[in-house]
């Protein structure tokens, strides 16, 4: 049935649970991640930014010119191994590359160099929301080029255009077991994976730049069943939100198909962000037969224990264990620890400031409330200083925000900024008394009202005080004013 004529299912509710009308959702994820390298997987071409002129970041190797040969990029191998270690994978001693044969214009050699039966790592796991998602394998391969189709719809295109700038860019493929049970879990997994990749410096993992591409395999089955249903694979997902929506859509679609007595077709479907639906992408006239065989142009890799150990030692603390440590060592509430540990820079800032003597909870508040949303990072020393100024009552919260901003912009220390602006909060009673007496003299009516029992008149006096003396410590001033009026 042509998909285009299908009525889209009613928009799925965002809080759709894993089980819907007696269906259990089963999701496995294939995630392609571009490791951070300067050059391509098998040649010296620079990994250029998106938007370079077409076919300008290419050489004879990645163009698949006759006579050319691949040579493995060491940095890509190390990024993949670091990822595998961070995902607690087993790393076999022997690994090799294979050719995956199929002809397509975005694949210059007519085969993709990938890994088949001896991937670089197997059997790992990642903790997501307290559940363990099993990682089946992490392997290394090369990206394809980009196709642009003439005409607005694929099937109407009468010619296509090939740009091979992306061809040969390294990719890690990270495959889970079908352990995810809802759209929420799948999204949380992808987010956790991104955090991990950034923490260990293996990838920038920016979905919008195509550095992290999540392809969920989705099937549904009757709750309680042990058998897996027919799955569909969804591609073209370019944000976590889209990942979530695409899974919800597929679950609705599949359950409608099954509930109306149909069968789900095993196929690849594309996600359309514009239409918020998936569409059938590839229903080939025959099943592709990739004819994998060992890549004769690349000698196998022997991953010796010393090399792996060296990489393992160089790994930073991973988000999971750091989160636990932030709770146990600094006494942070679990919710704060989750937010801070998810970002290596935030966590480093927190620990730096806390180590410099700032109160942990206050520091966390400042990081979650101010630094994270703005993305503007002070140094740990400056943040510590700022938090101390606030907790000591030397400056007001509003002042502190201003100081933080200026400190980030100028790189100067908060205490220097406070001194320069005369921001230091005035808590000295004799100084405040003079100010307050001036305010009272200027507002005899309010003073009278207050003394006549209209206690709220004190607000007007305080407001006048703040206008004339913003650095006044309001708490101290209020108490003093009450005494003067009483």
């Amino acid at each position: 049935m042509p998909d285009a004529n299908r009525k889209p299912p009613t928009p799925a509710s965002p809080d759709l649970p894993g089980e819907r009308g007696g269906w259990e959702v089963v999701i496995g994820m294939e995630v392609h991640v571009q490791p951070t390298t300067r050059s391509k997987m098998f040649c010296g071409c620079a990994v250029g930014p998106l938007g370079d002129p077409p076919n300008s970041n290419v050489c004879e190797v990645c163009l698949g010119m006759p006579g050319t040969l691949p040579v493995i990029n060491k940095a890509a191998v190390e990024a993949c191994l670091k990822t595998a270690l961070a995902l607690r994978c087993e790393i076999p001693r022997h690994t090799k590359f294979d050719r995956k044969n199929y002809m397509y214009p975005d694949l210059p050699k007519g085969y993709q160099i990938s890994q088949y039966d001896l991937p670089m790592s197997i059997n790992g796991h990642l903790e997501v929301g307290g559940r363990r998602v099993r990682i089946r394998r992490v392997h290394l391969e090369e990206d394809t080029g980009k196709l642009i189709h003439a005409g607005d719809k694929l099937h109407k295109a009468w010619e296509s255009f090939v740009d091979l700038n992306r061809a040969g860019v390294p990719l890690m493929e990270i495959v889970t077991e079908p352990d995810l049970r809802s759209a929420d879990e799948a999204r949380d997994y992808a987010v956790a994976l991104r955090t991990l990749l950034r923490t260990i410096g293996a990838s920038e993992a920016d979905m919008e730049k195509g550095q992290l591409r999540a392809e969920p395999n989705i099937s549904i089955r009757r709750a309680g069943s042990d058998e897996l249903g027919v799955k569909t694979e969804v591609k073209n997902i370019n944000s976590f939100r889209a990942l979530h929506r695409a899974i919800l859509y597929e679950v609705s679609r599949q359950s409608e198909v099954l509930e109306s007595g149909g069968t789900v077709v095993q196929e690849t479907r594309g996600w359309s962000d514009a239409e918020q639906r998936t569409f059938s992408q590839r229903s080939k006239e025959f099943a592709e037969d990739y004819r994998y065989f060992p890549e004769p142009d690349l000698p196998p890799l022997e991953l010796d224990a010393a090399w792996i150990e060296e990489l393992r030692r160089a790994l930073p603390e991973l988000p999971g264990s750091r989160r636990e440590r932030l709770v146990s060592q600094y006494g942070l509430p679990a919710a704060d620890a989750v937010l801070i540990a998810a970002d290596r820079d935030l966590a480093d800032l927190f620990e730096g400031a806390a180590t410099a003597g700032a109160d942990a909870k206050h520091t966390a508040n400042w990081i979650i409330g101010e630094v994270a949303p703005s993305g503007k990072f002070p140094t740990a020393e400056h943040l510590a200083e700022l938090v101390k100024l606030v907790t000591a009552g030397s400056i007001t919260r509003d002042q502190a925000r201003e100081v933080l901003l200026e400190s980030v912009e100028t790189g100067r220390s908060p205490s220097a900024i406070v001194a320069e602006h005369g921001f230091a909060q005035v808590s000295d009673e004799s100084a405040l008394q003079a100010e307050l007496q001036a305010v009272m003299a200027a507002n005899p009516r309010a003073v009278e009202d207050y003394r006549a029992g209209k206690k709220q008149a004190i607000g007007a006096l305080m407001a006048d005080l703040t206008r004339g003396a913003p650095q006044a410590n309001r708490k101290v001033a209020m108490k003093l004013l009450e005494r003067l009026l009483g």
């Binding site: 004879e60 163009l63 698949g64 010119m65 006759p66 006579g67 050319t68 040969l69 691949p70 040579v71 493995i72 050719r99 044969n101 002809m103 397509y104 214009p105 210059p108 050699k109 007519g110 085969y111 296509s160 090939v162 037969d289 004819r291 065989f293 004769p296 142009d297 690349l298 000698p299």
Partner: protein, 487 residues
């Protein structure tokens, strides 16, 4: 100046350094020879005046500056599977018609740096698939010793060019015997190095785990020098070894006295072995024994399975290697295809010749779902057995000697209808490719007025051993590669 086309590298070098001749003179002499003969021999596909002019001039300048490099000013021909920047390189195929590589392969560029002067591109079987050069999509090459016969293949153009005195040295490639067999049939020296000795960068791949680049020359010395200058680790070929090129010359001038030379009985009585070839090889073995070598019997028990294993492994790899010829980035393309698949299928049907299509089909089949284990994996295991045969034989001997080809050059057209009979030309050579061994073919007399070749195989990285035996034989026998007697 026709005698200039009969010189060895050493002789030419002496004359060049004495300023008796110039590099330009050498080029001219060879061009005159080509002019006179190549209409009949048809060794060359294309000529490269843009290169020989500059390179000869540069060579003369280097000699004037006192450069004593062995290859400075030496005229060279290059097989049509080795990419040379801006020179049309087609692998003997229509599908690459007009293709000018934007780069030069490592072996060729190293010889350019060593001062060699490129005369042109030589004919070969399409994608190096064949044993007679009749599978060239352009025209067949003729054997300079008998123009009605094949020069062998796939590097038949290079072998014929050297045999006819049209080039002093030439480059070929050897996947199952494609250097050694035409060298034998044309009466010249041809060497296939250990797999990984010479970079394959720039070699249009036929079967990646078997292909090697090697030299043709008219004496063992010339082959050795040429090989030494192009060998050695290349960062652009991950399968190239970090052993230096100079290794191939270690002790290679030593006598053969005291060496143990193995004669494999399976190679001795191979199917289709001609009496005259056998007699010439027997005589050669006797010469080596007389020179002090000990001749020992060895066995290569899986010889009968070599051809079968080879004709799975090579086609399987080629089916993948040739997938890039799709009419998108280079080569020919068919017009007005309705969709990409149709475009691919028509371009490739039109661009590939019969033998190439046959092997692509065979290799695709051998790798396809359901057949991989029965064919490809099985062939790889048999490859292990064949390699072990050689390992064991080399326990008993330092090198293996045999005929290079069971026959002398055969008449054009006599095997083109029966692929298996053509494949059998390689039974004595392809074992060396499956096991990655260095092997050399050196002329060892005549049979029915046609050259016979003696093959010397050595253990991996034993080029110096193979060269030493070949050179000792050359010296002891007095048999020297001659320029074919063409008027």
């Amino acid at each position: 100046m026709s005698e200039l086309t009969e010189l060895t590298i050493k002789e030419a070098g002496r004359l060049l350094r004495l300023h008796s001749i110039s590099a330009a003179d050498l080029v001219t002499a060879h061009l005159e020879r080509i002019e006179k003969l190549d209409r009949r021999v048809k060794a060359f596909l294309r000529f490269t005046p843009e290169l020989w002019e500059k390179q000869a001039e540069a060579a003369d300048e280097r000699i004037k500056q006192g450069d004593t490099g062995a290859l400075v000013g030496i005229p060279m021909a290059v097989k049509d599977v080795l990419c040379v920047r801006d020179v049309e390189t087609t692998a003997g195929s229509q599908i690459l018609s007009g293709f000018k590589p934007p780069y030069t392969g490592t072996a060729v560029s190293r010889l350019f740096e060593a001062g060699a002067v490129m005369l042109g591109v030589t004919n070969c079987d399409e994608f190096a698939m064949g044993s007679s050069t009749e599978n060239s999509s352009y025209f067949p090459t003729h054997n300079p010793w008998d123009l009605d016969r094949v020069p062998g293949g796939s590097s038949g153009g290079s072998a014929a060019a050297v045999a006819a005195g049209e080039a002093m040295i030439a480059l070929g490639t050897d996947t199952g015997g494609s250097i050694r067999q035409p060298a034998a049939l044309c009466g010249v020296v041809g060497m296939k190095p250990t797999y990984g000795r010479v970079s394959r960068y720039g070699l249009i791949a036929f079967a990646s785990s078997l292909d090697q680049v090697g030299p043709f020359a008219r004496c063992v010395d010339d082959a050795a020098i040429t090989l030494a200058l192009m060998a050695g680790r290349d960062p652009l070929d991950a399968t190239s070894s970090d052993r230096t090129g100079r290794d191939v010359l270690n002790n290679y001038g030593d006598a053969v006295k005291g060496m143990r030379l193995g004669v494999p009985r399976e190679y001795y009585d191979v199917e289709g072995m001609e009496k005259g070839v056998k007699a010439a090889v027997d005589q050669a073995i006797k010469t080596l024994r007389d020179a002090g070598a000990e001749i020992v019997d060895v066995s290569l028990p899986h010889t009968d399975y070599g051809l079968a294993a080879y004709y799975i492994i090579a086609p399987a790899e080629c089916s993948s290697n040739l997938a890039r010829f799709d009419g998108v980035r280079y080569g020919i393309s068919t017009e007005d295809a309705q969709n990409i698949t149709e475009g691919y299928m028509r371009t490739r049907r039109k661009g590939f010749g019969t033998e190439v299509r046959r092997r692509v089909m065979l290799g695709t089949y051998a790798l396809s779902s359901g057949y991989y284990d029965a064919y490809y994996l099985k062939a790889q295991k048999v490859r292990t057995l064949i390699k072990r045969d050689f390992d064991e034989a080399f326990q008993k001997c330092d090198a293996i000697v045999s005929a290079t080809s069971p026959t002398v050059a055969f008449p054009l057209g006599s095997k083109t209808q029966d692929p298996l009979s053509m494949y059998l030309c390689d039974v004595l050579t392809l074992g060396g490719n499956l096991a990655g061994l260095p092997g050399i073919s050196v002329p060892c007399g005549m049979s029915e007025g046609l050259p016979v070749g003696l093959q010397v195989l050595a253990p991996q990285w034993g080029e110096n051993v193979a060269l030493r035996v070949a050179r000792a034989y050359e010296e002891a026998s007095g048999v020297k590669a001659e320029v074919a007697p063409l008027a």
